[in-house]
């Protein structure tokens, strides 16, 4: 018995040696890519740390990995870390949910009624091209310099793109599929529920992916404008008092939170694809 045959015993029955090799190649490739990714991160951190220790960079301006870790430790020990994370996270999630749900509902209304769609079209186009940050002062005066204004800013950033993307998904549905339902005697509500909505589910997930990124843009922008707490506030405050450790620590926490939220959406996508037998 040669080596190849021995290996083959460990594999599932009916699997050729070539196929086992092919699978192995895929696995090896995956591991290589992951190790390079981790390697890049570790080397960057190491270079940064070493440069700080030997004095090649000014840690007052550049900070360093160890100082960032110390800073996070300080934030944890004085109990403010989770307070700030909690505020920013809740603003981001509330804004995300309101903008996604309201945007989709508005898109449904626009799909339902072509006249309303035509009337509102120029307004939506203008609102889409307007830099929402320009509305900051108005929001602060109308809503007040607090959480409300931050969430409002967050919603503004996401809602127009949500409406446009979902509307385009709804209206791009195959006309003949609609005709099929109508020939069965379906009314408009049935067409919406049986066809338009499930047909647009993958686009909806794309919108979730876009919004899960945009909600952090909106929240941090809002916090830059008005807040007295939250990660955006920590970054602005750290910048003003030149505490770069605080700025870097807050930014990294932000990265982690944004990535976690994104992965949440990716998991939803995987579940949906599995249910629909898509790969």
């Amino acid at each position: 018995m040669n080596n190849d045959q021995i290996k083959n015993i460990n594999n599932k029955p009916n699997q050729s040696i070539e196929y086992a090799k092919y699978l192995k190649k895929i696995r090896v490739n995956k591991v290589v890519i992951l190790s390079i990714q981790i390697g890049i991160l570790i080397s960057l951190l190491t270079i940064w740390e070493v440069a700080a220790i030997i004095g090649a960079i000014d840690t007052f301006i550049m900070s360093s990995p160890s100082r960032i870790i110390t800073q996070v430790g300080i934030l944890i020990s004085n109990g403010t870390l989770f307070y700030h994370i909690g505020i920013t996270l809740s603003e981001a999630i509330i804004g995300f949910l309101i903008a996604t749900i309201a945007g989709t509902l508005i898109a449904i209304i626009l799909w339902w009624n072509e006249t309303i769609r035509k009337i509102l079209d120029p307004y939506i186009v203008v609102l889409n091209s307007l830099p929402k940050i320009a509305l900051g002062p108005i929001l602060i005066i109308w809503i007040g310099a607090g959480t409300g204004a931050i969430i409002a800013m967050d919603i503004l950033i996401m809602i127009v793109i949500t409406i446009l993307s979902m509307l385009s998904a709804f209206t791009s549905c195959d006309e003949n599929k609609i005709l099929l339902l109508r020939s069965m005697g379906a009314n408009k509500l049935q067409i919406l529920i049986k066809l338009i909505l499930p047909n647009s589910l993958m686009e909806f997930i794309s919108v979730l992916k876009i919004n899960v990124g945009l909600t952090w843009v909106g929240t941090i922008m809002g916090e830059y404008l008005v807040s007295r707490a939250g990660l955006g506030y920590l970054i602005v405050y750290g910048g003003q008092v030149f505490k770069l450790d605080l700025v870097m620590a807050s930014t990294i926490i932000l990265c982690v939170l944004a990535a976690l939220m994104y992965f949440g959406v990716v998991i939803i996508e995987k579940i949906v694809k599995k249910q629909r037998n898509l790969h």
């Binding site: 599929k177 099929l180 339902l181 069965m184 049986k194 589910l201 629909r276 037998n277």
Partner: protein, 257 residues
């Protein structure tokens, strides 16, 4: 059972008013399979939309068993199967039943449930009868084109339509699959004793499948000729072998050009 009398249809668009159909009259008997052929763009598909009741004629009348047509009388089959990717085969076949549930609203809850279950059982029977039951839990993307088109037919038959409308139903399939699906569909329609009207650009397909072929003129479409197809073989495929087949073909070909 189906009767079109002096049907005419005007289209309105920004470019003006066009007369699409003029003076169309023909009758179809129960269990008959009729094909409509004609130059492209002449309004073949429009006739199907009229018979389904989705659009109303400008003039004339269309009756099924002496009653005005409505979408509940007829079932459509399109060029694409339009199976919903997110539904299993079983759920796809139930689509029309779900849509038409409201017609049972007049009954009590228990009776409603019983009737819906009955309809679903009928759909399952059809799947079993035509060899698709074992695929009921699969998704459309796991089936071949020919099988998908058969599922689409069963989805339509599940609603027990009085008349079936086939709009270029086979033209998206490759030739070999197409011949097989034509055989299958012909067999299903005949054994269920269904009345059907199919629109096609393929003269051979029309002759091989139908009891009669209606030839239309170019727009505005009028009935140019109606051919009784007297081929004796059972399946469309074997009917193509008969000597008379070519005669019909040449006749219709000349009428179209």
């Amino acid at each position: 059972m189906l009767k079109l009398e002096n049907v005419a249809l005007n289209y309105y668009s920004k470019n003006g008013e066009t007369l699409a159909l003029e003076n169309i009259s023909f009758e179809v008997q129960q269990g008959e399979l009729i094909s409509i052929v004609g130059p492209s763009g002449c309004g073949k598909t429009t006739i199907l939309s009229l018979i389904s009741g989705l659009i109303k004629p400008s003039k004339g009348s269309i009756k099924i068993n002496n009653k005005d047509v409505s979408p509940n009388n007829s079932g459509y089959m399109f060029q694409k199967d339009h199976l919903f990717d997110w539904r299993t085969i079983e759920k796809n076949v139930y689509l029309g039943i779900e849509i038409q549930q409201q017609k049972y609203k007049k009954y009590e809850k228990e009776e409603q449930k019983r009737r819906i279950t009955e309809d679903k059982n009928h759909a399952i029977e059809l799947l079993k009868k035509y060899g698709l039951y074992e695929f009921k839990d699969k998704y459309p993307n796991q089936l071949s084109g020919g099988m998908r088109q058969r599922v689409a037919l069963i989805r339509t038959l599940a609603l027990k339509p009085e008349i079936l409308l086939l709009d270029e139903a086979f033209s998206a399939l490759d030739f070999q699959t197409r011949l097989n699906v034509c055989n299958d569909v012909h067999n299903i329609l005949k054994s269920e004793n269904k009345t059907a009207i199919m629109v096609t650009h393929d003269i051979s397909e029309a002759i091989s499948m139908s009891d009669r072929v209606i030839v239309l003129t170019s727009r505005p479409a009028k009935v140019k000729a109606i051919h009784n197809i007297e081929l004796t073989s059972k399946t469309p495929l074997s009917r193509r072998e008969e000597a008379q087949f070519n005669e019909y073909f040449n006749q219709i070909w000349e009428e179209l050009t």
